[in-house]
C-alpha cells in the first residue's frame, strides 16, 4: 500500500496527473486518482490539476470541497467509511459498530490517526441494505458486519494486511434476487410465497441476450421502436415517472450540435440497491437500453454516471462495454449499420446524493459541483453541454431494452393502466428475506410484506427518506403512480424499532446532502435536524413540534429541487401518522432552551478551575 507523501514535488505531482489523465481526463477521475495516491487533494494539487485541465482553480477547489469522497487533508492508508443508513448502517444491528471500530483502532471518528494508518468516518447509505451493516474500505464494500468481523478488521488494519489478502468472502456482494411464485399477470391480491422455481419477474428473468434488443429494433425500424416505447407507457423508474417515450421523442426533436444519452446510476436514496444488482447481473440490458435510446434520439455519445459507492463495479462494467464493442454492439457501425455509431463512457461520482437529480448529475458530468439547474430549460433540450440529452434511470433503460425486444403488448401485460409493467423493489430492514423483488405495478404493501417475511411491522418507508412513511392502517395501499410512486426503496421497520431515531437519521441525511444552493433547503434542513436532535434529547416542547411543521412545510413548498421538496417528508409524515413518537419525548413546560446551559459553562469551569454551586446552571 502506497505511503502518503507530504514531500511530494510539483514535478512528481505533474507527472502523476499527466499519467492519470491518460486513462480519463475527467476532473472527477483525476481527483480520485490523486486522492488514492496521496490520500488527499492538497492545495498544490488543486492548482496543478487546474493548470493541466485548463480549468479555473476555484472550479477544481469547489469540486474537491463538494464531494464527500475528496479530502483536503490526508486520510489514513486505510480509509474506512461505515454506512449510516438505517438498513446497512453501523447501528442497524443494534450495536454501534463505528464506536467499536474506533475504540479497537484507538481512532477518533472523522480524524486520521496520528500515524496515518487509518481514518474512520461515516457515510450516507452505500446500497448494501440487503447485507446488513456494511462499510467501504478504500472504496471496497465489506458487508454483513458484526462485532466479530469488526475486531478482525481492526487486526488486519493494525497489521497493515493488504486488502487483497483480506478474506475474499468479505468482499462478496450477493444479488439476493428473491423469486416469487404465483401468477405475475395478476396485479395483486393473490397470496404468493417465496420459492426457488418459477420466474422472478418481467425484467429479471434473465433470458436477455446481448444484441437481441438492437436486432429487434433494426427489424422494426427506429420510428417503430419509439412507437413501441411510447405505446408501452413506460414511465421513468427513478420515481418521478415521466413518460419515457415522450422524453425520447422530445429529445429526438430538439435541435442541437449533438445529442446525448445519460444513464443515472447514482442510486443514492437510502434503502435502494436495485441498480447495484442490475449493473452487476444485467449490465447488457442497461447498455442495450442506452443504445436503443441513442438510435432513437440520434446520439453518438452516452454516459453512465456511476455513484462513487459502486466504484467496485467499474471493472465489471468496463469488461461488459469492451465485450459489447467486440460484438459490434457499441462503437462505429453498430451491427453493421453505417450510420449507427455510439459509445458509452462511465463517469464515477464521489459521494453526493444530490447528483441523482438529473440536472445536478449533468453538472457533475461537466466537472462541477452537483447543483441542480434552473428549469426550464429541461435536459431534453438543454442537457449535457447544453445539448439535447436523455437522462434515464438504470431500470428504465433495462425496461426499454426489453420492450425493444418483446414489444409493448408484452410489457403492458402486467401492471395497471397508468403504471404499466413491473417495478423492481429493494426490500430491506426488519424482514426475513431482504433483497430484490420484482412485482407488477399495483402490488399492495401488505403483499410485499408477506413475501419478504416481515412480521409485527410498525411502519414502512416507501421510496426512501424522500418518499412516504406508511402506517399499518394503510398497508393496503398500492405501489404505482396512481397511489404510491416509488423509486423502489422499501424499508421495513418492526415494532422493536425506535421510529424517532429513524426520523432523526433521515433529517441528518438531508442536512448532510443538501447542496446548499437555495436558502430554504440549505438552512431549513439544518434547522430541522437541530430541532429533531433537541426533541430526541428530551428537550423539545410543543413549540418545537409546531416550528418543525412550519419549517418543514416551507422547505417542501419553496425549495429549488426535489431534495428540498422532499426533505421534510419523514417529519411531516410522522408528525401526522405517528405523533406519539414525538409527544412521548417532550419535556414539561412551554419552552426549553436551544442549548445546554450547564454545558455552556464547562469551558469556563475548566479555565477557572471552579466547580462550586454557582459554577453550574440547571
Amino acid at each position: 500500500m502506497s505511503q502518503p507523501s507530504r514531500t511530494i514535488t510539483i514535478e512528481q505531482l505533474n507527472t502523476f496527473i499527466a499519467d492519470a489523465g491518460l486513462h480519463s481526463s475527467h476532473l472527477l477521475h483525476i481527483l480520485h486518482a490523486i486522492q488514492q495516491r496521496f490520500l488527499h487533494i492538497s492545495h498544490e494539487a488543486v492548482n496543478e490539476v487546474a493548470s493541466h485541465l485548463g480549468l479555473p482553480i476555484s472550479q477544481v477547489e469547489s469540486v474537491v470541497e463538494f464531494y464527500s469522497f475528496f479530502y483536503n487533508t490526508p486520510r489514513g492508508r486505510y480509509n474506512i467509511l461505515l454506512s449510516n443508513c438505517t438498513s446497512c448502517g453501523y447501528k442497524s444491528g443494534g450495536e454501534n459498530l463505528l464506536r467499536m471500530l474506533c475504540h479497537r483502532l484507538r481512532a477518533v471518528a472523522g480524524k486520521t490517526r496520528g500515524d496515518g494508518l487509518v481514518s474512520i468516518d461515516e457515510t450516507s447509505c452505500i446500497g448494501m441494505c440487503d447485507h446488513g451493516a456494511s462499510l467501504l474500505v478504500n472504496g471496497m464494500p465489506i458487508t454483513r458486519l458484526d462485532a466479530d468481523k469488526i475486531a478482525r478488521i481492526a487486526d488486519l488494519v493494525e497489521t497493515e494486511t493488504p486488502l487483497a489478502d483480506w478474506p475474499a468472502d468479505w468482499l462478496r456482494v450477493d444479488d439476493n434476487i428473491r423469486v416469487i411464485t404465483g401468477d405475475l399477470t395478476a396485479a395483486s391480491g393473490k397470496p404468493s410465497r417465496m420459492a426457488s422455481s418459477s420466474t422472478s419477474g418481467l425484467l429479471l428473468n434473465n433470458d436477455f441476450v446481448a444484441g437481441g434488443g438492437l436486432h429487434a429494433m433494426l427489424a422494426r425500424g427506429i420510428e417503430g421502436t419509439l412507437a413501441e416505447i411510447t405505446q408501452s407507457a413506460l414511465r421513468g423508474r427513478g420515481g418521478a415517472g415521466f413518460s419515457t417515450g415522450m422524453k425520447w421523442k422530445f429529445c429526438r426533436e430538439a435541435q442541437g450540435d449533438a445529442h446525448y444519452v445519460v444513464c443515472n446510476a447514482d442510486e443514492g436514496e437510502p434503502g435502494t440497491f436495485k441498480d447495484r444488482v442490475l449493473l452487476h447481473s444485467h449490465a447488457d440490458a442497461v447498455f442495450e437500453g442506452m443504445t436503443v435510446c441513442a438510435a432513437v434520439i440520434g446520439a453518438k455519445q452516452g454516459f453512465l454516471y456511476l455513484r462513487g459507492e459502486y466504484r467496485y463495479l467499474l471493472p465489471h462494467l468496463q469488461t461488459v462495454l469492451a465485450r459489447r464493442r467486440e460484438q459490434g454492439l457499441l462503437g462505429n457501425s453498430i451491427l453493421g449499420q453505417q450510420a449507427f455509431n455510439f459509445d458509452i463512457e462511465i463517469v464515477v461520482g464521489a459521494g453526493a446524493y444530490i447528483c441523482g437529480e438529473e440536472s445536478a448529475l449533468i453538472e457533475s458530468l461537466e466537472g462541477r459541483r452537483g447543483v441542480p439547474r434552473n428549469r426550464p430549460p429541461f435536459p431534453v433540450t438543454h442537457g449535457y453541454l447544453d445539448q439535447p440529452t436523455v437522462v434515464n434511470n438504470v431500470e428504465t433503460f433495462v425496461a426499454a431494452a426489453h420492450i425493444a425486444l418483446c414489444g409493448s403488448a408484452w410489457f403492458k401485460s402486467v401492471g395497471t393502466e397508468k403504471s404499466t409493467g413491473s417495478k423492481i423493489l429493494s426490500v430491506s430492514g426488519d424482514c426475513a428475506a431482504p433483497g430484490i423483488y420484482e412485482y407488477p405495478f399495483g402490488v399492495s404493501i401488505q403483499q410485499v410484506l408477506n413475501d419478504c417475511g416481515a412480521k409485527s411491522v410498525q411502519a414502512v418507508q416507501i421510496g426512501g427518506p424522500s418518499g412516504a412513511l406508511i402506517n399499518p392502517a394503510k398497508f393496503n395501499r398500492k405501489l404505482g403512480f396512481e397511489d404510491l410512486p416509488t423509486g423502489g426503496s422499501f424499508m421495513v421497520f418492526g415494532q422493536g424499532r425506535d421510529l424517532l431515531t429513524i426520523i432523526v437519521n433521515f433529517a441528518h441525511f438531508f442536512a448532510h446532502e443538501s447542496c446548499g444552493f437555495c436558502t430554504p433547503c440549505r438552512v431549513g434542513t439544518t434547522l430541522l435536524k437541530n430541532s429533531l436532535d433537541k426533541i430526541a434529547g428530551g428537550h423539545g416542547t410543543q413549540y418545537d413540534l409546531d416550528e418543525m411543521k412550519r419549517i418543514g412545510e416551507l422547505i417542501k413548498r419553496r425549495s429549488h429541487c426535489g431534495l428540498g421538496q422532499t426533505a421534510a417528508n419523514p417529519i411531516l409524515d410522522s408528525l401526522q401518522r405517528f405523533p406519539q413518537i414525538f409527544e412521548q419525548r417532550l419535556a414539561h413546560g412551554n419552552f426549553e432552551p436551544y442549548f445546554n446551559l450547564d454545558g455552556a459553562l464547562e469551558e469556563a469551569r475548566q479555565v477557572t478551575h471552579r466547580d462550586d454551586a454557582a459554577a453550574h446552571l440547571e
Binding site: H43, N47, P56, I57, S58, Q59, E61, S62, V64, E65, F66, R235, A240, G241, F242, S243, M246, A352, I354, R369, N374, P376, K418, F481, E482, P485, A511, H512, E513, S514, C515, G516, F517, C518, T519, P520, R522, V523, G524, T525, T526, L527, N530, R550, I551, L554, R557, R558, S559, H560, Y594, F595
Partner: protein, 278 residues
C-alpha cells in the same frame, strides 16, 4: 382579480400579459416574471437577482405562487394526480427564473407569501453573523432593507454563529464571509461584466462558502480591481472597499432615504457603493 375569476377557465387571456395580484402586466417573449414585473413597476422582493446578470434563483425571496388558466393536466405532472383542490395546485416558483407565459395568474404581495419571505430572510440572518451595528454596510445593505420591507423584527431561529474567515489581503478590497449570503452576485458580475472569474462557491449544504480564484485562495493574488462590478454589487457587507468607512453617516444612507421596493433603485444602490475618489 377576484378569487372566483382565478378559478374560472372561461375567461379570455389577453395575449402576452400575465396577471400579478389582479393587475394585468404585459411581457415580451423571453422575459421572466421578474423582468415583466419590474418593467411594470411591480416590486417582487429579491436578493440574488440583478437586472443584466443571468438569473440565479437561489435566495428564493422572489417566491411567487402561480396558476394558469391553461394549466397542464398531463399525466406526468404528479400534482395533478393528487386529489387536492385548485388552491393546492398552484405552483411555487422563483419569479426571477420562471419565464412569463400568457395567462399566468400570479400571487405576489400577499400576507402568506410575505410571511414565507420573512422566514427565508430570517434564515439568511441566522446562518451568518449579521451584526448590523458593527457593519459598515448598514443602511446601504439590501438584506437589511428587504428585512425592513417584510417587517422582520428578529432572527426568530437560534443563531448558528458560524466561524468564517476574513480576507484582508487585498490592498483596497476586503472580504468578510460572516456576512456572505451566497447570492453569487459577485460570482456572476465578475464573469459576466468584469470578464474575470474572481469568485466561486465551494463546499456544500450549510458549509457552502465563497472562495477566491487564485493560487493562494487569497484576494490579493486574484486579478480583482477596485473598479470591478464584482466589488460593488455585494448586497451585504461581505465585500467592502477599504479606507472608505462611514463616509456617509448612518441616517443618510440609501435605505434611510429609500424603500427597497422603489422601482429603479438599482443605479442608486450601485452609485452609493462607489466612492468619489476611487
Amino acid at each position: 382579480m377576484s378569487a372566483e375569476a382565478n378559478m374560472t377557465t372561461t375567461n379570455t387571456v389577453t395575449p402576452n400579459t400575465i396577471n400579478i395580484d389582479g393587475q394585468d402586466i404585459p411581457f415580451k417573449n423571453g422575459q421572466t416574471i421578474m423582468d415583466a414585473a419590474l418593467a411594470a413597476g411591480v416590486y417582487i422582493p429579491h436578493l440574488c437577482h440583478k437586472p443584466g446578470l443571468t438569473p440565479h434563483g437561489s435566495c428564493k425571496l422572489c417566491t411567487v405562487d402561480i396558476g394558469s388558466r391553461s394549466m397542464s393536466t398531463s399525466a406526468s405532472d404528479r400534482r395533478t394526480q393528487t386529489k387536492f383542490s385548485v388552491d393546492i395546485d398552484r405552483r411555487s416558483v422563483s419569479a426571477c427564473t420562471t419565464p412569463a407565459v400568457a395567462g399566468q395568474q400570479i400571487s405576489n404581495d400577499t400576507p402568506a407569501l410575505n410571511e414565507v419571505r420573512k422566514t427565508i430572510t430570517q434564515m439568511l440572518f441566522i446562518e451568518g453573523n449579521h451584526l448590523c451595528p458593527a457593519c459598515e454596510k448598514t443602511g446601504n445593505c439590501t438584506l437589511q432593507a428587504v428585512a425592513y420591507h417584510l417587517g422582520m423584527l428578529d432572527g426568530h431561529f437560534p443563531q448558528f454563529f458560524p466561524r468564517r474567515e476574513v480576507d484582508a489581503s487585498h490592498p483596497t478590497v476586503m472580504l468578510d464571509l460572516d456576512r456572505c449570503i451566497l447570492c453569487e452576485l459577485c460570482v456572476r458580475a465578475s464573469r459576466e461584466v468584469d470578464g474575470k472569474n474572481v469568485f466561486a462557491i465551494a463546499g456544500r449544504g450549510i458549509n457552502a462558502h465563497l472562495i477566491v480564484n487564485s493560487p493562494s485562495g487569497k484576494l490579493v493574488d486574484s486579478d480583482l480591481e477596485t473598479g470591478d462590478m464584482a466589488v460593488h454589487i455585494c448586497p451585504v457587507g461581505a465585500i467592502l472597499i477599504k479606507e472608505h468607512g462611514y463616509e456617509v453617516p448612518i441616517g443618510r444612507r440609501t435605505f434611510d432615504l429609500h424603500q427597497v421596493g422603489e422601482i429603479g433603485l438599482e443605479p442608486v444602490i450601485l452609485a452609493k457603493a462607489r466612492h468619489t475618489n476611487e
